[in-house]
């Protein structure tokens, strides 16, 4: 566990250096902050905990000054239990408890986000007493809180501190590539799909069934998709198809459905999603068979062709479907009208001959 | 048309010259039908729960579609059975009190045991050992009466305890919780008794015993041939002649469809009944 802190501190150090290099915002710290720093600017200052772990009590002046709180808050706004020196006696079993001790402090100002976080899967674990569930400061930092999402890639990197595997996948995905290499701000980062504070458990069926709606937030957005000339019809064509129809009914059912049906992520992948043009993409014609087999064991050869790949049937694409449709569109009215006439004539004649 | 042909044939062959008398009225046949179906349903949904350790029980339970479904059907059939009981009581009340026909409470036409039944029984046993003639039965034999009262009592006990468990929350307002322990025990034990009795003894009387093998259709057709009446209910037969009530209840031979219908229902129920019987024995 301490290792994570080593990493963290390391990160901070680097950040510090860069900050020092760049123009440090000329923030004059409140006198009472200065007062605290009298002691706490001493780097070697640390607190030994019963667990044998040690907690550095050093506060980097630069960091705090440049943090978003630098010119707004003074120490005791968060450390509200401290009036002066000597500080009240406090006992923490271990490093984590120390951090947990300050968990509630953000609530004072950021009440909405705090309440949101109570619905999150992270809090669900925390409330069970799982010490490794992240707290505000684990993502936002403590004294060095900066505006979240600048740069946007920082968000993914923050999540990566725990979800390293997912991050590795994401970094390879079409979204991740665009974000990390093209610095593209349009692509989703973790929080766009999972949300930031009220992150829900993605293992639930409910979340599965929500994925079309999540993807459609961007892929249904005309303006955005034009930029990359992607079709916005994907959602509709999905919903009209067998899978989409099933999913939309499942999402209405109270009891969690007996079976599963394919949603966006089942074919396109979740974090490792690739451009459909990418030869490695799971939805590439060559790889499609494998994807289908995930749910349709023993489906082979031409089975993937059964899927119209989000296209409306046209004489060029899926002629067979198109013409069958056409024939019936003519045939049905013809028959129905014919029979109607026959009936009307019959009635008319019966009436006449009475 | 082929069916029709067979049908005509049978009509002409024999049966037409055979006289038939109404023994069981439609109402009772219907009640018996529903009773039979719901009882089987209750047994089929109840026994898997009682013998939950047996593999067949698990299979049945899962193939039916889960615990929710089992419970639903169990309650569903329970309601139907209760309905049958209510109808029967209603009938007794109407005939017995409204119409004032007390003969259903005593006398030969009644289900209420008489000393004769006791004698019949002894006589029957003596006949078993070849120590005498077969007893001469009246309208209802002693074992039929036993069947009847067994069901009647079972209906009260199983039904009562069943509803108590179904609406335990409601009953808990009046009785203490340990009563549910008793109810639970009685419900399952009495049910086992009923299931075994019906599927073993009752079915033997109706199907297996050589005189009736493969099946006694009277409960479905409601009609008994003169011959049978003479043979099996001599006392009633003579009584009817004496009261010359025979003509009043004379009727047509049971039509083929009716017999086939009876056979269809009868055999399917018997088969499933015996299956359940042996499964439960096996699971002991």
């Amino acid at each position: 566990m301490a290792t994570r802190y080593l990493g963290l501190l390391g990160g901070l150090l680097i950040a510090a250096l860069t900050c020092a290099g760049s123009e440090a915002r000329a923030v004059t710290l409140a006198p009472e902050v200065q007062a605290c720093l009298e002691c706490h600017r001493e780097p070697s200052m640390e607190l030994m905990l019963p667990s044998g772990e040690s907690r550095s009590l050093y506060v980097d002046e630069e960091h705090f000054a440049n943090s978003i709180h630098g010119d707004k808050l003074s120490c005791t706004d968060c450390h509200s239990d401290i009036e002066g020196y000597p500080h009240p006696e406090r006992t923490f079993k271990n490093l984590r408890e120390f951090t947990l001790g300050y968990y509630e402090n953000c609530k004072g100002c950021h009440f909405d986000n705090y309440t949101k976080s109570l619905d999150s899967v992270h809090y669900a674990f925390l409330s069970k007493g799982d010490l490794k569930a992240p707290l505000c400061v684990d993502c936002h930092g403590a004294h060095d809180v900066t505006k979240p999402g600048v740069p946007k890639s920082q968000i993914s990197k923050t999540c990566a501190r725990c979800h390293a595997g997912v991050y590795q996948q994401y970094a390879q995905s079409v979204h991740g590539q665009a974000l990390l290499h093209e610095k593209n701000g349009d692509v989703p980062v973790c929080t766009d799909c999972h949300r930031s504070h009220n992150i829900e458990d993605p293992r639930t069926v409910a979340f599965r069934l929500k994925s079309p709606e999540i993807c459609a937030r961007c892929h249904g957005d005309e303006k955005l998709m034009q930029k990359y000339n992607l079709s916005t019809g994907v959602l509709q064509s999905y919903l009209k198809d067998f899978h989409g129809m099933t999913a939309s009914f499942y999402s209405k059912e109270k009891a969690s459905p007996s079976a599963l049906t394919a949603v966006c992520t089942d074919c396109h992948g979740v974090h490792d999603i690739l451009s459909a043009k990418d030869p490695k993409s799971s939805v590439m014609q060559a790889n499609l068979e494998k994807v289908c087999q995930k749910c349709h064991p023993g489906s082979t050869g031409s089975f993937p062709a059964a899927w119209l790949r989000h296209y409306e049937p046209t004489p060029e694409k899926a002629p067979l479907v198109y013409y069958v449709k056409l024939i019936y569109q003519i045939f049905i009215p013809f028959v129905v009208v014919g029979l109607m006439l026959q009936i009307l004539l019959h009635i008319w004649r019966v009436v006449v001959s009475r | 048309m082929m069916q029709a042909a067979v049908f005509n044939h049978e009509l002409q062959a024999g049966e037409s010259k055979q006289k038939y008398y109404t023994r069981i009225h439609l109402l009772h046949r219907l009640v018996h039908g529903f009773l039979m179906t719901s009882f089987l349903g209750l047994a089929a949904t109840g026994m898997p729960i009682k013998f939950n350790w047996a593999p067949w029980a698990v299979n049945i339970a899962h193939s039916v579609g889960g615990f929710g479904t089992i419970l639903f059907f169990h309650k569903f059939f329970a309601v139907i059975l209760t309905g049958c009981f209510a109808v029967h009581l209603g009938y007794l009340f109407r005939v017995g009190f409204m119409e004032g026909d007390r003969s259903i409470f005593y006398g030969p036409g009644s289900m209420v045991p008489r000393p004769k039944d006791l004698f019949d029984m002894f006589q029957h046993f003596r006949w078993f050992f070849g120590m005498g003639e077969q007893p001469r039965f009246d309208r209802f034999t002693y074992w039929e009466k036993f069947d009847y009262w067994a069901v009647f009592w079972g209906m009260g006990v199983i039904g009562g305890s069943g509803y108590m468990l179904w609406y335990s929350g409601f009953f808990a307002r009046f009785v203490s919780g340990w009563v549910f322990n008793i109810a639970l025990l009685i419900h399952s034990e009495e049910a086992l008794l009923a299931v075994w009795f019906i599927f073993a003894v009752h079915f033997f009387n109706g199907h297996i015993r050589p005189d009736k093998f493969p099946m006694d259709l009277v409960i479905f057709t409601g009609r008994i041939s003169e011959e049978e009446l003479k043979e099996e209910r001599p006392v009633e037969h003579e009584r009817l002649i004496a009261e010359n009530g025979l003509t009043a209840i004379q009727t047509d031979a049971p039509p083929l469809w009716m017999k086939n219908f009876g056979r269809l229902i009868g055999f399917s129920v018997v088969i499933s009944g015996f299956t359940l019987f042996f499964l439960t024995i096996w699971a002991l």
Partner: protein, 408 residues
């Protein structure tokens, strides 16, 4: 923690080495060594590869060190077969780690001449390309550690040789909830081998100092699941453990050690019932007499299981007012499922035993009566039926009542 110290330690040592480094530097520098060992095809007489990949080395955490800081005895030219670098050399910098290792099960095994017991290299890889444990390239990086351990502990043969009780720990772990979280979705905080077994100081589970010694298990799991740990020690099981009752169940008795599964799946919910039953045999038997027990036995879970009434981690005796089955709280417990339950309702005894005359007299006598009733009925009608069958068969044999046969 130790890591941190080590870090500091290494740093200081490094500086020393660098300052004194000048001394050796005249005779043997890394370039001197790489002049020969930089050649990919350099092998010993027995064909052992002697090639040192300089890029890997520069990328490694040891890159600041000169070769001679470990291969101290080397002069140029050196003899055909220089003495192998002993573990004591590592101790030069990593004293604490080596000390811990030598006390550990691996260290002891090595000392007893089991040369297939793990040494530094087996877990950390070659010292020439070794990375920091926080570096995803490191063999002991959280996501890679199970593979490092699995190299030996996935091998049943080795387990047999050394009498290790769990023969395929690696495979089991990879399929457990922790293994899936770690390797499946790469969740760094998920427990890996070292989270429960420690690293340098791994001990056998029968060693009281071991993190997985029976009485230490709760605190080991508690290092992540602190909340559960607190609950556990509030309950009878935890208390019993504290009072030195060796048989008291600890985490792994219900959850298993390496095959820990999600607890919200039906198979687990059903298996755990018989798990309680291994100690509480009577209760399980009587539980099976009630609808709850019967339905779960059929394989359905919408009904109450042990934990639904007694709680899972903080199990308390009914005598304790805080217990979910105490007089004060039992009604509320029933109401979790039976919304209309009341005090009377709660008097239902889910573990009533019809054979126990003292505690449940009414039930006892009812049961007796029912049994008698059944036996009586079937004794009579069994006889009745059999006799009748025999008799009428005789009658038919003697052809006296053929006419009974349907009509003709």
């Amino acid at each position: 923690m130790t890591h941190r110290k080590v870090g500091v330690f290494a740093a200081s040592l490094l500086s020393i080495v660098l300052s004194h480094g000048a001394a050796f530097a005249e005779d043997v520098t890394n370039d001197t060594c790489l002049a020969c060992h930089g050649a990919e095809d350099l092998t010993s007489a027995e064909g052992r590869v002697l090639y040192i990949n300089s890029d890997a080395f520069t990328a490694s955490v040891h890159s600041p060190l000169p070769c001679t800081s470990c291969h101290a005895d080397i002069q140029v030219p050196h003899e055909e077969k220089p003495a192998p670098v002993a573990i004591s050399t590592c101790a030069g910098c990593h004293g604490e780690a080596v000390a811990a290792y030598e006390k550990s099960v691996h260290g002891k095994a090595q000392a007893n001449g089991a040369n297939d017991a793990a040494t530094c290299k087996n877990c950390h890889g070659s010292p020439h390309s070794i990375r920091k444990h926080t570096d995803p390239g490191s063999m002991v990086y959280s996501l890679n550690l199970p593979r490092a351990c699995g190299a030996c502990h996935g091998d049943p043969e080795l387990a047999k040789r050394h009498g290790i009780p769990v023969v395929n720990a690696y495979q089991l772990y990879m399929d457990s909830i922790h293994g899936r979280a770690l390797t499946g979705s790469g969740l760094l905080v998920a427990a890996n081998c070292s989270s429960c077994h420690g690293f340098h100081d791994i001990q056998r589970r029968d060693n009281p100092d071991s993190k997985i010694f029976r009485t230490n298990v709760p605190s080991t799991c508690g290092s992540c699941h602190a909340g559960v740990q607190d609950l556990y020690f509030k309950g009878v099981h935890g208390e019993a453990l504290n009072h030195g009752k060796k048989k008291a169940p600890v985490c792994i008795d219900c959850h298993t050690a390496h095959q820990i599964a999600r607890v919200d799946t039906d198979p687990w919910k059903l298996r755990i019932i018989s798990e309680c039953g291994t100690c509480h045999e009577e209760s399980l038997k009587t539980y099976r007499d009630t609808l709850h027990g019967q339905v779960t036995n059929l394989g359905f879970t919408p009904v109450a299981r042990c934990s639904d009434c007694h709680g899972s981690h903080a199990v308390l005796p009914a005598s304790n007012p805080d217990s979910s089955v105490s007089e004060q709280r039992v009604v509320a417990t029933c109401q979790k499922c039976h919304a209309d339950a009341n005090a009377n309702f709660a008097k239902f005894s889910p573990h009533a035993d019809p054979a126990d005359r003292e505690r449940y007299p009414v039930l006892y006598y009812t049961a007796q009566f029912m049994t008698l009733l059944i036996i009586g009925t079937f004794a009579f009608f069994g006889l009745h039926t059999v006799l009748w069958l025999i008799r009428s068969l005789i009658e038919h044999r003697s052809g006296r009542s053929d006419r009974y046969f349907t009509g003709h």
